[in-house]
């Protein structure tokens, strides 16, 4: 599903985030990406949906070499990846429901089917009763769950999450991870970046550790 080989990433200005990263994530796998903050976890995750391009090496997602992807093809790559960000990137000028509807606007579903999918996604993360609320009114954990609902509403085969449990209390964090594990059980491939080793130990997925710009 995901294959990094000899990936290096240097940001403009000379900062070297990744030196030589190689790892693979098979279809249906649940993999944790760990490492100290600044180890390059976010960079690895940004390379997958082509938010960043590698300076060297190849990133293959779903059989596509992301590094060589044309600009026009990127949206179609991203539609197959559910992205959950550390800072959620919710839109606060609209309701919870409309946030989840956003990805459906351009995926071409009939309105009734889109509404059904949006409610199903909200139901899965336990936010169905809050669909009319504004995201501002949600707690940190709820906002993160909303971000997950938006990521999965198009039923992607791959989920990528960057520190989804950061800044959350233990209960909320556990609940978020439970949701990921549930998706994993129904066949979704998931790559989750976290620095919380305790959580990783509890769920016991495979771990890829980043250190000094290299994967271990």
């Amino acid at each position: 599903m995901i294959s990094f080989s000899a990936v290096a990433k240097r940001y403009p200005g000379g900062q070297e985030a990744l030196r030589d990263v190689s790892f693979t994530v098979g279809a249906g796998e649940l993999v944790f990406l760990t490492g100290r903050s600044g180890a390059g976890k976010s960079t690895v995750l940004k390379l997958i949906p082509a938010i960043e391009r590698p300076s060297a090496g190849s990133v293959v997602v779903n059989g596509q070499n992301v590094a060589a992807l044309k600009r026009g093809a990127i949206p179609y790559l991203r539609r197959n990846i559910g992205l959950v960000f550390q800072d959620q990137k919710l839109l606060y000028d609209r309701s919870v429901y409309d946030n989840v509807m956003l990805p459906l606007a351009f995926s071409g579903h009939a309105p009734r089917e889109a509404a059904r999918r949006a409610r199903a996604a909200l139901d899965k993360v336990g936010l169905l009763t809050r669909e009319r609320a504004n995201p501002v009114q949600l707690s940190g954990g709820e906002q993160q769950r909303l971000a997950i609902a938006r990521a999965v509403v198009n039923r992607p085969a791959l989920l990528v999450a960057d520190e989804p449990t950061a800044n959350l209390d233990a209960d909320s964090a556990a609940r978020i991870l439970d949701i990921f594990v549930e998706f994993h059980r129904v066949g979704v491939t998931a790559l989750i970046a976290t620095h919380d080793h305790a959580l990783v130990a509890r769920y016991g997925g495979r771990t890829v550790q980043l250190e000094d710009g290299r994967a271990k």
């Binding site: 938010i51 949206p75 539609r79 992205l83 990137k89 606007a105 351009f106 071409g108 009939a110 198009n154």
Partner: protein, 298 residues
């Protein structure tokens, strides 16, 4: 196809909402006021042109005989003029016909009726072969015996035509200038709108929206604003002409004329709306292609 239509409908609805919310109406007003200038001038010129069209623009020379001249003298002059190689067309206007023509001119029948006898002379209307040499031909005709008075009446007509041409050129320059202004106004409206939608654009890109999907509502916004501006311009022109006509009517009536400034032909009005819409779209397109690329998820 249905998806495509639905997406366009959604983009259009979004554009309408943004137009209403973002003070697009004010920008449309600016566009309308700017466009009303060339549109109004065009309407005025067209009205004047319909009057001027009744006047002959073909350069002609009128050769008058003395009022007391006999018809035989006129025939002799006619024969002499026929032999002149530089004359393309020759028309004899007998004095009776000249009086009839004068009576047909608006406001003058009473005057003609009050005349005891016909004061007009017989005349020839000469069309020269070479319009450029009209003054030289007129000078030669003045030397022909029997010709009491020779008038080359093309000069003023040509001046009027040149003046109208000048006004038309000025109008096009004005239209081009204000058209560029329209593009600039739309460019800026769309730029501001893109800045306020920054988060939404970034998130949309992250979750797989294509560029054309993101662009669409902004294009519709520019189109809408341009069309609204065009409609406002037409409303301003209609109002302005109505006010002008209010003042023109007594003036025209004092000349026995029913002259009114006419509103633009519906073809021209539609053309103005389409033109404004097109320029609005162009402004939005420019703005979007410049500013959307700058918003990339980080």
């Amino acid at each position: 196809m249905r998806t495509w239509l639905r997406q366009h409908r959604q983009a259009f609805a979004q554009a309408v909402a943004r137009f209403a919310r973002s003070g697009g109406l004010l920008s449309a007003l600016v566009i309308g006021v700017a466009l009303s200038l060339p549109a109004g001038s065009y309407a005025l010129l067209e009205s004047l042109r319909s009057v001027a069209a009744r006047l002959s623009f073909e350069p002609q020379i009128s050769v008058f005989l003395a009022p007391a001249a006999k018809r035989a003298e006129a025939d002799a002059l006619g024969a002499r003029l026929k032999g002149e190689a530089r004359i393309a067309k020759l028309r004899f206007v007998p004095r009776e016909e000249a009086l009839k023509e004068l009576a047909a001119v608006q406001g003058l029948p009473d005057l003609v009726a009050s005349l005891g006898r016909n004061p007009l002379p017989d005349a020839f209307v000469v069309t020269p072969r070479d319009p450029g040499a009209i003054e030289a031909l007129a000078a030669d005709l003045r030397k022909v015996p029997g010709a009491a008075y020779v008038q080359a009446d093309a000069a003023w007509a040509r001046r009027l035509a040149a003046l109208a041409g000048l006004a038309r050129m000025g109008l096009w320059l004005l239209a081009a200038l204000l058209g560029a202004g329209l593009v600039a106004v739309t460019f800026n409206t769309v730029r501001l709108q893109i800045l306020t939608q920054r988060d939404e654009i970034e998130v949309s890109k992250l979750i797989g929206a294509t560029d054309s999907f993101i662009r669409r509502p902004f294009q519709y916004l520019g189109l809408l604003q341009g069309i609204a501006g065009g409609l406002i311009a037409l409303a301003i022109v209609a109002l302005g002409l109505a006010l002008l006509n209010f003042e023109v009517r007594p003036l025209a009536e004092s000349y026995g004329s029913t002259f009114r400034f006419a509103f633009l032909a519906s073809r021209d009005a539609i053309a103005i709306i389409l033109f404004a819409g097109l320029l609005g779209f162009a402004g939005a397109q420019l703005s979007v292609s410049r500013h959307l690329r700058a918003i990339e998820p980080k």
